[in-house]
Amino acid sequence: MTPLSNLGASLKMTAQRDDALASAGTNRATAGKVSATEVSVFYGDKQALFDVSLDMPDRMVTALIGPSGCGKSTFLRCINRMNDTIPGARVDGKIILDGEDINDRKVDPVLLRARVGMVFQKPNPFPKSIFENVAYGPRIHGFADNKTELADIVESSLKRAGLWKEVADRLQAPGTSLSGGQQQRLVIARAIAVSPEVILMDEPCSALDPIATAKIEELIDDLRSQYCIVIVTHSMAQAARVSQRTAFFHMGAVVEAGATDEIFTNPRDTRTQDYITGRFG
């Protein structure tokens, strides 16, 4: 067995164990599936995040809001160590995923990124068929033992992403032939095909029309029962619609975090209030 498929086998086991736990009705802790403590990020000499501490509970959607350049995307990228790929970037502080420090030397970032999936602003399907887009992850991680298993994973992922009915008869068509909204759901299907625990979304609807946006939001609400979801959005209305918890970022720090309905009806901090109500800060 190659080391890569070893990795896949262990991943598969993790996924199965979690599924078993979930189906047995075991309550995983609701507070802090992902828990950040005093996270600071530096790009060279420039500090982009200042001691951010935030709990992101399992089976909930946490929305990160704030003006451009406030550090919310930087923070999101810390959760699956995407900042590792940026030269000169340094992350201080702790991010704990299920009790494990994700920045620990022992953690393989590739394995981490399978557990922590990510969806970007612009849909980025691979230049391959719809089927291959979804099958790619499970195949390289050794999730499926044969073609039938792989096809099953692709089908169930597309179904969970709410795309199956629209593409079932043209799985061999290029992923890029789909509409923007369909592409975004394809990318989500690709992310969930490797049984992640956390899904990060960086403005997943900002390039979509209202109907496609509604479909993604419906999907997010649906996925919430299985995953810890963290979403960055510039749309206050979207944050209010899809999330249960909201954190307001400003100038690289978390100003206020709490239950979404509280933040949007009765924020405690005037900076939060000024931002969400569209006032000069």
Partner: protein, 232 residues
């Protein structure tokens, strides 16, 4: 408070609050005039109160329409949302107050030729003045976003109830003493009840102001209450 980046939004919000305050002024005047009408047995005044109610209904409908439009087009949040909802709710309360004022005026017209009952009328007047003062204070608190003032109205809610309870007993005494007064007394009992309910609306408005300013809605359950039925 900082201004909105979108100036038209700021203007619309201010207009909504201003219209609600203006409706408050008209309602307050209607209640004061209705009281004046019943105390002086003034037919003309009563007629004028009845005629002016339509204007209040129209204002309420307009404020509601503007608030709904605001919610649809501007999606107000946080304090803006509370302000929008508060304007709509206060307008509703004021519309009810206007109806109660109109009802007082209508009853005045019915009893206009009955014998004056001076001590009783004085009691109605005292209760009415208290209610009008409460209404005025709470509307001033709304215009000035003055939480303390609104809360002072709120915490004195039982004063009106006590007036009402004593008037209730006074009316019973009259009716038992001289059955010929029953018709007029029954109408005055409704007048007193209407005044008491106007007082309740003033308390409601104080609670709405509290919500608008603090975002805390729990206060509605904490009010001191005197129940007319528990204290015969």
């Amino acid at each position: 408070m900082n201004e909105h980046i979108v100036k038209a939004y700021e203007d619309e919000l201010n207009m909504l609050t201003a219209e609600c305050a203006r409706m408050g002024g008209l309602t307050e005047a209607a209640v004061a005039d209705a009281l004046e009408a019943v105390v002086r047995r003034d037919q003309q005044m009563a007629d004028s109160v009845v005629a002016r109610d339509e204007r209040l209904d129209a204002l309420q409908a307009d404020i509601e329409r503007k608030a709904i439009r605001m919610i649809a087009l501007r999606q107000p949040l946080a304090n803006d949302l509370r302000r929008t909802v508060a304007a709509m709710k206060i307008a509703n309360n004021l519309e009810r107050v206007g109806d109660l004022g109109k009802n007082i005026a209508k009853r005045t017209i019915v009893i206009i030729d009955s014998d004056p009952m001076v001590p009783l009328t004085r009691s109605i007047e005292r209760m009415g003045r208290l209610v009008v003062t409460r209404l005025k204070e709470v509307l001033d608190a709304y215009t000035a976003s003055d939480l303390e003032r609104a809360m002072s109205v709120w915490s004195r809610d039982d004063e009106v109830d006590e007036h009402y309870n004593s008037l209730f007993r006074e009316l019973l005494t009259y009716m038992m003493g001289d059955p010929r007064t029953i018709t007029a007394c029954a109408h005055l009992l409704f007048v007193a009840k209407n005044l008491e309910r106007i007082g309740d609306h003033a308390t409601n408005i104080a609670e709405i102001i509290h919500y608008e300013i603090t975002g805390d809605e729990a206060i509605a359950t904490a009010r001191p209450k005197t129940d007319a039925l528990q204290r015969p």
